[in-house]
Symmetry: C2
Subunit: 321 residues, 2 copies
Amino acid sequence: MQSFELLSQKFALHFDKRHFPEEPSSLYDPNEYFLKLGGKRIRPVLCLMGNELFDEIKKDAWHVGTAIELFHNFTLIHDDIMDKAPLRRGMETVHTKYGESTALLAGDVMLVTAYEELNKISIEYLQSILHLFNKTAKEVCEGQQMDMDFETRELVSLEEYLKMIELKTSVALAASLQTGAILGGAGERNQHLLYGFGKKLGIAFQVQDDYLDAFGDPEKFGKQVGGDILANKKTFLLLHALETAPEVRQKELKLILAGNSSDKIGKVLQIFRDCKADKWALQLKDKYLDEAFSHLEDIAVLSKRKQPLKELAHFLVKREH
Amino acid sequence: MQSFELLSQKFALHFDKRHFPEEPSSLYDPNEYFLKLGGKRIRPVLCLMGNELFDEIKKDAWHVGTAIELFHNFTLIHDDIMDKAPLRRGMETVHTKYGESTALLAGDVMLVTAYEELNKISIEYLQSILHLFNKTAKEVCEGQQMDMDFETRELVSLEEYLKMIELKTSVALAASLQTGAILGGAGERNQHLLYGFGKKLGIAFQVQDDYLDAFGDPEKFGKQVGGDILANKKTFLLLHALETAPEVRQKELKLILAGNSSDKIGKVLQIFRDCKADKWALQLKDKYLDEAFSHLEDIAVLSKRKQPLKELAHFLVKREH
């Protein structure tokens, strides 16, 4: 059983090569540039770990991992266009550097290349992996569309936000694990338990991300604390406050959000604290983390095989108490 | 053996259904809207005809045809964004009606849905069809990128233009036929001959399209004659004139193109005629048509099976003399 760190290093070595033809360079250089910006490569490593939970890592898992990472980068290139994001990992986004049309097309060909990579796996797994891949790809697109829809909507329920997070973020983590499980020869029940583990872990991670943006230690967080508040982003905290705070405070919150007060962050945080959104978020995170671990627990393999996934989950989502 | 017309009607009936889930409607309604705009559905019918050239039409051919048509519509939605085209088939393009971000994402999910449809075919053909589909999809993206690159380049050789046309247009026709041939059980040699037929036919069609834009009968052409000239579009005619006209006339041509004379079309057409670009184009079209028919001739099946493809070729590319 190999740790997430070790498998990350191995995957980085495997993935660090040219993925596209030389010509036309105007199409393929942008993709090579973007892949070189790096990334944590979490999803492909989840595929490797999902495989190793049940059996030694198969050659096919490297192809599927590569396809998953290419797919993830395709979504990033297109999301950056939609979000009009100038920077990604501190460097110019593809559309900023090469123009929107080229970024659109470069993303398209990145997706096709992901499918080309998938088609290298042995025929025995092709249909089931392709099916899971397509289902997940559609869900990720649906999540992105919901996220865009929410930006211009005044009212979004917590339930809707949770659904969006599941689609946009969690299912890709869950499916990465499941592809590995399929290649490792897991039965359907074990596959679905592992999928459930990934999905709940993804939600716990997003709750934590929303929490840290508001209440994180600025020194450890790495991003500006309160960034979501300044951007009026809908988060678990904000939606909870809008659903549970007394009516007067809800109105106050809406006024603060609509304005540009110099202490916008401080004022919103005070309301969050007053309606105990901070504590609620930590509990919500633990709830999803507990559910994730419960799924992992139920998977019918020796406990020691689960150790790397347990460590990864604790690393990604730290308990605060 | 069924004619193109008959198979078109059958495919239209088969394809005329909902292809996407109901929700989120903000993502899927745009795709349903776009598919309802219609189209000639040439590519999927080529798949059916490629199949029937060798054997009776298999159930899989309807899935592959559907995937090909979804792929084609994905390229149209994204091309329209890149070209900033307000209209398609006389109706609003997806990005005009629903915004660029949604059009981008709707195109993405259309492509994924094409792969989902492909995954319905029997496992015995999946790898080879998927491989051809991916190769072709990459080439179509490359062709679109070259087309965009050419817009801002002053010098484009005929050879480069031909390569671009092959990638952007011809290979999709060729590959549609070949997928059908694969499903019909054709051997490699017959498959490649049919691919060659489609590729040459595609080029002949584009030469004719360029010719008709300049010299077509306005009543029959259906579009404004001279539209390519007004848009300074690089065409077979223009590139031939720029390569073969005497130097003085080449300079004159460049000046006319750079300007906005009220008789821009007439002046350019005169230069085309003077350097016999019109006759050259008709000969070029016939050359590719002859090559296409020669490939079809060489395919080892009874001549009567080839009749519908011959008729289609004559219908698409009419001889002028």
